[in-house]
Symmetry: D2
Subunit: 441 residues, 4 copies
């Protein structure tokens, strides 16, 4: 989510497909509001003082019902909001990082153009999405050779909530190409340990069921990666009666899987016995076309981690003689010519919980998005104080705890209060924060 002090280019304006759905959307938004106590509390707490007065906020996130509640919350706090939704070339897993990168690329291209007159070449990259970005920059350069630099100057900061997006921001920080302060929302505990874990525990079976109606009980499921997303996916499958196998590169995560009764093997070990494959790694080249050829007939292959390059979609699409049969949108059966067996690919290899279901449920998104609002408030309020340099920051723990606290009432929870002598005994303030920075939860 990027905070801009000026209007974005018209090419990024928000467009909806079918305005007749507005009433339905409004009803769903109203239901979601009841499930998003953190965002509603922000409206109550901050709405009256209009802290975002004058701020222009541009978001790049899956345009779901939950995102709509976020947008309306930002608006309620005084912001002028623009949003760009998913398109066919974007899984949007990287959200604002894309904007950040595009801005950086744009600035770099303008400087290069100014010096050498050379335009960016879309063919210089394999990444289809980045080809588009370079094309846009190239065309923009012809119109206004200082556009990205003007945009950069007006950019107050960025808050980013995906694991992958954050990784890119840290890489930009390390290489000195980060042009503005960034708040890493992903690593708020109330984001990574909730949205990534419990969100996926909810939305993986949701996506599987909507896409395939397959009985999960009795099947063998392989979860590639046992990070927060993988933990949520493995838990969901296991609880549904699936025999789960995990693949991992990290011995610590592997040992965690084992302690939960989940075997850790390599993908090659289980290709011929598994029914469901889920990638959650945030890496590329996890399930290759040569893996897919060895799978059982109608094995389901899907990705809930990151880009569609976790699964070798390119290898599959270009496999000689392969036949694609679309069962329904986002559910394709790909049949190999030699064996006549097919595998079922969900959401074309993109995020299956968004492609085949409706993403994460409102309650857990309320945690993530309350962090976003708080991060944006922080960036905006401190825009002139110099508090934030062109670095990546995480939210302070007391704000993390506050986000959690805003979600307890809805679930009927009652917290215990520390007495002063207890607080002193464990050396924390009575009102928190209660844990050291390195605490893992």
């Amino acid at each position: 989510m990027a905070l801009l002090v000026e209007k974005t280019s018209s090419g990024r304006e928000y467009k909806v497909k079918d305005m007749s759905q507005a009433d339905f959307g409004r009803l769903e938004i109203e239901l979601a509001e009841v499930e998003m106590p953190g965002l509603m509390a922000c409206r109550t707490e901050f709405g009256p003082s209009q802290p975002f007065k004058g701020a222009r906020i541009t978001g790049s996130l899956h345009m779901t019902i939950q995102t709509a509640v976020l947008i309306e919350t930002l608006t309620a706090l005084g912001a002028e909001v623009r949003w760009c939704s998913c398109n066919i070339f974007s899984t949007q897993d990287h959200a604002a990082a894309a904007i950040a990168r595009d801005s950086a690329a744009g600035v770099k291209a303008e400087e290069e153009f100014e010096k050498t007159g050379k335009l960016p070449d879309p063919n210089s990259t394999d990444n289809t999405e980045f080809q588009l970005v370079l094309g846009l920059i190239r065309d923009g350069l012809k119109v206004d050779p200082r556009r990205y630099r003007k945009m950069k100057e007006r950019l107050v900061g960025v808050s980013e909530e995906t694991t992958t997006g954050v990784k890119r921001l840290y890489q930009m920080q390390a290489s000195g190409t980060l042009l503005f302060p960034a708040i890493n929302v992903n690593d708020a505990v109330t984001k990574s340990k909730f949205d990534n874990l419990y969100g996926c525990r909810h939305s993986l079976p949701d996506g599987l069921m909507r896409a395939t109606d397959v009985m999960i009980a009795g099947k063998v499921g392989v979860v590639c990666g046992y990070g927060d997303v993988g933990k949520g996916c493995a838990a969901a499958l296991k609880q549904a009666g699936c025999r789960v196998i995990v693949t991992e590169i990290d011995p610590i995560c592997a040992l965690q899987a084992l302690m939960e009764g989940i075997p850790v093997l390599t993908l090659e070990d289980v290709l011929s016995e598994a029914d469901i494959f889920v990638t959650t790694t945030g890496n590329k080249d996890i399930i290759m076309v040569d893996h897919m050829r060895k799978m059982k007939n109608n094995a389901i292959v899907c990705n809930i981690g990151h880009f569609d390059n976790e699964i070798d979609m390119l290898g599959l699409e270009t496999f000689p003689g392969v036949k694609r049969i679309t069962i329904k949108p986002q559910t394709d059966r790909w049949v190999f010519p030699d064996t006549k067996t097919g595998i079922i690919i969900l959401a074309e290899g993109r995020l299956m919980n968004l492609g085949c279901a409706t993403g994460h449920p409102s309650f857990v998104m309320s945690c993530s998005f309350t962090n976003q609002v708080i991060a944006q408030l922080e960036l905006w309020n401190e825009r002139s104080t110099g508090k934030y340099e062109k670095k990546v920051y995480v939210l302070p723990k007391h704000l993390d705890e506050k986000v959690a606290a805003l979600h307890l009432d809805k679930l009927g929870a009652k917290l215990t209060k520390l007495s002063p002598s207890q607080a002193e005994y464990i050396s924390v303030p009575v009102e928190g924060p209660y844990k050291p920075a390195h605490y893992r939860y």
Copy 2:
């Protein structure tokens, strides 16, 4: 599923809404076939000998993809099949029992008409559905006053697979109104302990997620009834991170819930704290409008057990000033005039897993439907031998075990074989059946 030796009345012919969906249906049927090894094994084993040659089978079951695979299996075995699907006034939970009852009602009405000239009066019952049945009988009587008795004579037998339908058959047996042999498929272990339990464990969260996208984790869910269906529902909610409470009348089932860590309370105890209410009882008047008025705003109320009279839909619909807001089909918010709070009713109080999702998945339906095929084969093969009287029968245990055995390969299981001396030691045949009739599994 009723086995008729003559064509059914034209009013019951199979009609589809939209033939353009046929290709999509065929693709889904092909996927389902891979998940229904029991039915496919029946085709392989019995197909060549065409045992149903000459049999006309009429079915009354939810017209799902799985049902289609059943119909094509019966056809592959030589039967001429007619099917009546769901309509708006039928939850079809009672399947063939409805046919059986309608036939019985029809025969009784004809005899009454012959004696007294009196026509059945649809207004003599509260049950909307039975009003329709009486209307049909009344109109039929004017055309052919012996139609139901002719139908009855041609009826070889009925196989029934729902808990409620079977209960009605036993009542008819007890009262002497059962007009033909019936096989109770519901109480096959491979039906009641699989479809009812594991089917609902799958389809309850599926229906909840498709209808409301609600986050189940963290919520309080009330499951009314802890029979097989209730056990499946409670397990599903619990595993998804919901705090489950059960209501029960039966102390044994109550104690089972407690042993699983689930509190047993009355509905009144938990009205104001629960978020999700699910009825699974097979009884009526479980959640009344007075209960609903005391619920939290946006509490979800749904039924996966039986008729829509588990939930007091009539009381809700006729509550003065209540307002119905349809979020989307099968998902309605009902707002009470005094409190302005609303509750969300799924599938209009009918079976929410069928109304909001796609019912039970193929694999578990394969167990149920393989029992159906075997039961129908048994009734047809023995139609002239007098083996089956006008009573309710259960399938012999070796057939139950056979149904299970047909589903093991698909899941990669390997059975252990008894040695002759082991078989003798526990006094069972080497090839089974392995358990006494009263064994509970």
Copy 3:
């Protein structure tokens, strides 16, 4: 538990090892009473009328704290009670069935002796325990050649609570050698679905931890048999983070395991990868010495099902060169001479939950033993009415439900009451019983 009208032979009198432990025992009994609400309710309900006045009850069951509460309950109801506890040659898994069989054997031997003068020969059987029985009968015959027949005449009936014991009673009924009425307590729902299932879920890990302190998480555990006992064991291991594999002969039970996410394989498939082996089958020759030789070093082998012949202890003890190292009582490491690897046998192959831990906890035993008290009351009250023939009976369902009901208050549960119209709708009495006889729970 056998109900005798006369004093038992002096050889069966109750003897304790160490009277100094009496105070400790009394304290533990007092704790157990709080956990055994069913037995305490029997004292309250039946104590005042002394219904067992004049009855002599002989029991044969593991002499645990819980059994002491049972004995004191029978005494509180007016009975004169004798008990025989476990000895080294008895796993007592068969409880009163042993008495029943011994009586039958005794009667048969006396009749044979009367006709032919032939004495029973202990060497005619392989079963060490039955050799002792035959020896006792032989010696008794010399003293009083009508003793067993006199005993038989005074025997009012037997109530039996183990799966195996009941199986023997049914065999005796089938072969016409059952000399008195018997009540099958094992197949009360409140016994088999609680004691067998939840009792073992508790006591298997208890026994494993006390005997070996092994970390269950991360290990591979094999449960032979997936009946009620096996289901409890598999659940316990799985929940502790163990990867569980089940072996089964029965396809229905196998399919149940699969639906719970547990693979079903043969013992041979998993010998070299498993860490813990548990037999629960009620059969013999499950784990043979040839299996044990192929196991990993320090694999744990134990039995919670039945006699020590589930595990081939004879084959192990007589294996050439095998070396037994007793770690502590009931925990032995057996080292094979060729591989130098050892396996750990618990409780010498007998019931590990009794040998290595303290058996099942009080609460679940209260269910089982309340059934025993009710069964004994029924036999005694109806001793002269001819209600019970020389057959095996199960308790009527309303008593089964009563046993459950007596255990709800302790757990804070509240039952829902059926309204008369609801009861009529589902055709059950308002006060129960609520389920048909074939209901499986």
Copy 4:
């Protein structure tokens, strides 16, 4: 664990109660070695080079079988090891931190004594244990007024593995009283996320069962604190069929409990309905005598977190008229005079898993202790390089990952290897470490 360059005082020498148990201990040690692959791998890797040659290591940890394997590992690497075991005034939860604090206290007392001649006064503290320490220092001062300062000079460093001990070290660092480098082993992922979590998940039910034989299923259990220890305890109880309630001060941990389906309430809310209370907080004054008076008869109260002051043992012991009945060692029933109801206190309020059972199992202790060995090696190897100042350090992540890796083979796990292009894509080395420092697992 403190690393000394000189022999410790004779008062700390290792003494065993009963040498006749040595053979039994040796057999258990041999079993444990098979379960402690990390320690055995250290012997293999480091044993030949004898890196601890010349090092004197003093440990202060519960003297369990697992500790014995640790000691023998340190010895195998060349160290001269002294160990002080638990005594009645020490729960040893703070392990080496106690030594560290005692040294600090000793040094401070000597300096004070040198300046003012004032001796430390045991009556200046409420803490019984610290009274003893002050007494020892006072007596030592009379003999050698520079003893602690000499000890301090020889102290190379300390490695500490408990949450509480580490907290004290950080406090000493903050206040400038830390006299030597310390390695915080507790916050190694392979310690806190394994020992604390999975160790307690194992040992809580173990302790409960050994101490009370109580049936956990069906009961209501309260876990005070939902940190790593509390998470393990709550999981264990829940899986055993207990209804678990958590109390928390930290909203983030509270929200985690809720997402797992566990209600969060205050202790006061649940006093009268719970059966089992477990403190896991690391704080004091959690369950006070006024809480205990309101509990159900025979409620079980125990501590697995920290000192016995989590439970108000002093308040209980001094409650007027309270009566203590020892059921067996470490299991006491305390009866209040007014209500005549009693509560059951385990292990006198000290760590119940050590007092009533045998602590954590070998496998998980192998993770913790392998960290200890690595930490001690690091301190010793770097003792003269100045790498470590008088601060608290955590082990670098690659060592953490190494500890995990050493435990995978035993559980049959196979890791996936990153390809160089994958490693580059996610910006990590092919051989790890794979996660950023702030990653929470």
